[in-house]
Amino acid sequence: MSEPNILLEVRNLSVEFNGFQALTDVSMKIYEGELRVIIGPNGAGKTTFMDLVTGKTAPTAGRILFSGADISGKSASDIARRYKIGRKFQGPNVFDNMTVKENIEIAAEGFESLWRSLLFRKSKTFKNKVSDILRSIDLYDYRHFMACDLSHGQRQWLEIGMVFAQNPRLIILDEPTAGMTADETWKTGEMIKKLKGTHTLIVVEHDMDFVRQVAEYVTVFNYGKLLAEGPLEEVQKNPEVIAVYLKED
């Protein structure tokens, strides 16, 4: 069997904010079709890592390669449009005073430039695509609601749906189950598992039940450094990981 393609590779990535070293010398590879879960205590640099990959902050050292192309320091809109990396933020980050359907429509790929958006006509395929996404996140009945009138869990799903609509090559989910009930968390896990194999995903999560539900291969961050990496069972037995993170369980 041939080695799967590397989709995202970071080499010796470091970032510093006013003297605070948020990330130190992180190197990792994400393969195409993989579902990678990143765990780590608060302040371990998980979100900072996401910020670097999606262009929210620029690295002070190191390189980010996305399917061979160097994307370090590129703008967020370039990374989303040209390289197709989609990101769901921590805590729902949606367009509040717009309907659920409008939220999905805005996120849908292919019409991001002003010119294309002016020429845009709603085709039947487009409508079907939006409806399919709404069904897959279980919000079809809520499509005419304002995003701010949804429950917290539904807003999280809405943002996940928006990322799907972007049709990204790499999906980054930052704490997709934060603030969800156990039931909703499980449902989210099933949504994510459905994407396994066809999509490449990076998921940052705190909820260990959820991690066990979806994860195979895990990366552990601590104090801005990569602490451990490997299959979930192996990492769970790693004494260092247990010491910093899993002991609370």
């Binding site: 999606t54 929210k56 703008s75 967020a76 809109s77 370039d78 989303a80 449009r81 040209r82 989609g86 990101r87 933020f89 980050n93 949606v94 367009f95 509040d96 005073n97 717009m98 409008e102 429509e105 805005i106 996120a107 790929e109 019409f111 991001e112 430039s113 002003l114 958006s117 002016l118 845009f120 009945d141 809520y142 005419h144 609601f145 304002m146 009138d149 928006m162 972007q166």
Partner: protein, 363 residues
């Protein structure tokens, strides 16, 4: 069929009623009110232009009058030049105003100049990532500067006396070809309707939704691959041209323009119209303008009817009412109605979803 009708949002009914009212208004009103309403309709276009920028895109321009006045002054200067007004001391127009020597050229300039001003301010602001209150403050400063500029450039603008024109057509500066108030009312109504339909189409398009998304969460939009600056620049220029157009119409109705039309005075007024009516809906901007402008006309004549000393206090009375409205219903009159309607619909939808789920679990 019933479903189709039910789907039409409430504000579209209000819009329809409003246009019906405007179309029948001159048939039972005296010439004075026809004249007043013509001016108000020009102001409505101005309010719509601000609503696109502030209500939909979230860019609170506190100097939108600059674009209105720029349009108006182009017509004023052109008129004064062509009709050889008494105060005109110059023989030739400077090169950048050369177009004003023809009537069509003046109209063209009245749309072009506001667009160019908006483009420059926009490029400066949006590439520099100036946002929120800083955008408002800079536009406010621009309005102050424009006011001073117009007063100082008295060679062309006749200083603080302003310019008086006589013609009442859109394109002609000649003093003989003059439409009656009644005819001119319908010319303006037709333009207002066209502008309104343009706004409806634009705001229902994908571009309109992107603009709303900029208002809601500009940062998030960049992670979907958008460059909000281009969209903001686009709407600023469009809005500037609309403001210029309303300036043209207003000068043609009023027959005069002075520095108050380009300065902070009018810039504040239009903000109040849109705020009271309800920003973020075209209906709100239109209703707000009509209510406040009619109130102004009625109050000022009522107050001056009491006694001459009392005349200026109408502003105090109107100001108090506006404060109460903005305090009690911060979303504005129409905004509150739309919200109530949306809440009601949400309740109905929730009920339907609940019933559907009950059926699903019982099977």
């Amino acid at each position: 069929m019933m479903d189709m009708i039910k789907k039409i949002p409430i504000n579209k009914y209000i819009d329809f009623a409003l246009f019906l009212f405007l179309a029948t208004f001159p048939f039972y009103q005296k010439t004075y009110w026809i004249y007043v309403m013509s001016g108000i309709m020009a102001y409505i276009i101005f309010a719509l232009s601000l609503d696109l920028l502030w209500g939909y895109t979230g860019l609170m321009s506190m100097g939108h009058s600059v674009l209105f006045g720029a349009g108006g002054y182009m017509i004023g200067i052109s008129c004064a030049y062509i009709n050889h007004a008494g105060w005109v001391r110059f023989d030739r127009l400077p090169w950048f105003l050369a177009l004003l020597s023809s009537e069509t050229g003046a109209f063209f300039m009245a749309l072009l100049l506001p667009a160019v001003i908006a483009l420059f301010i926009g490029i400066f602001m949006f590439s520099g990532k100036i946002q929120g209150v800083f955008f408002s403050l800079i536009t406010l400063a621009v309005a102050g500067i424009a006011e001073l500029f117009v007063v100082n450039q008295s060679t062309y603008t006749h200083g603080d006396s302003g310019i008086t024109i006589t013609s009442r057509t859109i394109l002609s500066n000649s003093e003989t070809s003059r439409l009656t108030d009644f005819q001119f009312y319908f010319v303006i109504l037709a333009i207002l309707l066209a502008v309104y339909l343009f706004c409806v189409l634009l705001m229902h398009s994908r571009t309109g939704k992107v603009l709303k998304a900029i208002r809601e969460n500009e940062g998030r939009l960049t992670f979907f691959g958008y460059k909000p600056a281009a969209f903001k620049l686009f709407i600023f220029v469009i809005s500037g041209m609309m403001a210029g157009l309303s300036g043209v119409l207003f000068v043609r109705v009023q027959g005069s323009i002075n520095y108050t039309a380009i300065g902070i005075n009018l810039a504040t007024l239009v903000l109040v119209w849109v705020a009271v009516g309800g920003r973020g809906s075209l209906t709100g901007a239109m209703v707000g303008t009509i209510i406040l402008q009619v109130a102004e006309t009625v109050l000022s004549s009522a107050f001056s009817g009491v006694s001459a000393d009392f005349a200026q206090y109408w502003k105090l009375a109107l100001g108090a009412v506006i404060l109460v409205i903005v305090f009690v219903i911060p979303k504005g009159i129409i905004g509150t109605i739309i919200e109530a309607r949306q809440k009601h619909r949400d309740r109905m939808r929730k009920e339907r979803i609940r019933q559907k789920e009950e059926v699903r679990y019982h099977v």
